[in-house]
């Protein structure tokens, strides 16, 4: 079956993509560029990286745009998925939804209307198992935005590797944060993966104040592994 992956370039959608490839032909990535940084549905930090990922994986990218107004953005997503069905003949959508009933049910409804399958391979996956699977699959992601105590500017730009995961586990125990950033504690960007022909190197500045911040990318390079 040909499927499209709702893709942001973050760790969850990339892991969902890697899992989907074990079962299906991934024919396209589907991304919505949202003008609303507070979108309920769509990841916004560093979203343009999907164009680089698409080239590094030789998987075409189907882009839609949205103003990011609640519920209206779902119509924009539906239009973009429809475009992907027409262009790439996909019969199903794969998402990286883990706990969000809001995201999951809205995508399920769109798939029902468009008569295509919906696959959520990370659904209810325990956080510890999810980060373990990222490491096992050699997916490397950087923390590109933070939004909660005690994640500070030192965390920005750090790789989500074993050491960082150990630190997050300690914080989880002490401050009840999510190990995978499910509560908006942090956002990630994948910079290397076995699915990539080359790895990504970033130059960036940090913008940070009061436990909220992000990296501002100055340049993106792809380099041989």
């Amino acid at each position: 079956m040909r499927v499209g992956v709702l893709y942001t370039g973050g760790k969850d959608s990339h892991l969902a993509l890697a899992i989907a490839r074990d079962y299906f032909e991934v024919s396209c990535l589907i991304t919505l560029y949202s003008e609303n940084e507070e979108s309920y549905m769509f990841h916004t930090p560093g979203i343009n990286i999907v164009e680089v990922h698409s080239k590094l994986m030789d998987i075409p990218l189907c882009i839609g745009k949205t103003k990011g107004e609640k519920e209206k953005e779902l119509l924009d997503l539906e239009r973009t998925i429809k475009k992907a069905i027409e262009l790439y003949g996909i019969k199903g959508i794969v998402t990286g939804a883990n706990r969000s009933i809001y995201q999951n049910t809205r995508i399920q409804r769109i798939c029902k209307r468009l008569d295509i399958w919906s696959f959520n391979p990370l659904w209810l996956m325990p956080e510890e198992e999810l980060v373990e699977e990222l490491l096992n699959r050699s997916i490397k992601a950087l923390i590109i935005a933070v939004g909660a105590w005690p994640l500070d500017d030192k965390v920005l730009g750090r790789e989500l590797d074993k050491d960082m995961i150990t630190l997050l586990k300690q914080w989880k125990e002490k401050y009840q944060i999510s190990l995978i950033g499910e509560g908006g504690e942090f956002e990630t960007m994948v910079i290397d993966s076995p699915l990539f022909k080359k790895k990504i190197e970033l130059e960036y500045d940090k913008i940070y104040e009061n436990y909220s911040g992000r990296i501002q990318i100055k340049s993106i390079k792809t380099v041989d592994k």
Binding site: I101, T105, Q108, R109, F119, W123, L124, P126
Partner: protein
């Protein structure tokens, strides 16, 4: 306790979503193994849970070996599993889309992903209704068989516990 989880999923990847979360929850209560309905089922399990998606995948409605249910112990059918049990009891399915989080009449919330439900009038007449969502019976019991139109592994896990510990 030996617990069998029967997958109705047309694709293995769907088990990550509709079966594995159940396995993780019920393994606290006994020895669990999962099996696809197209493979031999275990007749010696104390409890059986049947689960899968019921939005686009309906192959199980024609292929599930209903006669095998005669020989199983206590059975909980979730979503696709509830449709299979409805078919076992000759309850017709009607088109009704329930996708999302809805409030049950006891004030708790439940997560639904179903587009065909057992005829509510027949369920009310022939089953003991354990929970309603508005005027729809969404959790019901007949003898050793339990039908849940929602996914209790997502919201309302107490129902799974009550089923496993014989509290319902």
């Amino acid at each position: 306790m030996k617990i069998q989880i029967i997958s109705t999923c047309a694709f293995k990847i769907l088990e990550r979503e509709f079966v594995d979360p159940l396995v993780r929850f019920v393994e606290k209560y006994g020895t669990v193994f999962k099996v696809h309905y197209k493979n031999p089922l275990d007749k010696l399990s104390d409890k059986t849970i049947i689960s899968g998606t019921a939005i686009k995948d309906f192959g199980y409605l024609t292929d599930f070996p209903l006669s095998k249910l005669d020989k199983l112990g206590k059975v909980l059918g979730i979503c696709a599993g509830a449709q299979i049990l409805a078919k076992y009891f000759k309850v017709p399915l009607i088109e009704k889309e329930l996708i999302g989080k809805f409030r049950l009449n006891d004030g708790s919330y439940a997560f639904f992903l179903i587009t065909r439900i057992p005829d509510p009038k027949t369920i009310e007449k022939e089953f003991d209704v354990l929970a309603y969502m508005e005027d729809l019976p969404v959790l019901a019991k007949k003898g050793r068989f339990y039908l849940s139109l929602f996914h209790p592994e997502v919201l309302n896990q107490k129902i799974l516990e009550d089923f496993l510990l014989d509290n319902i």
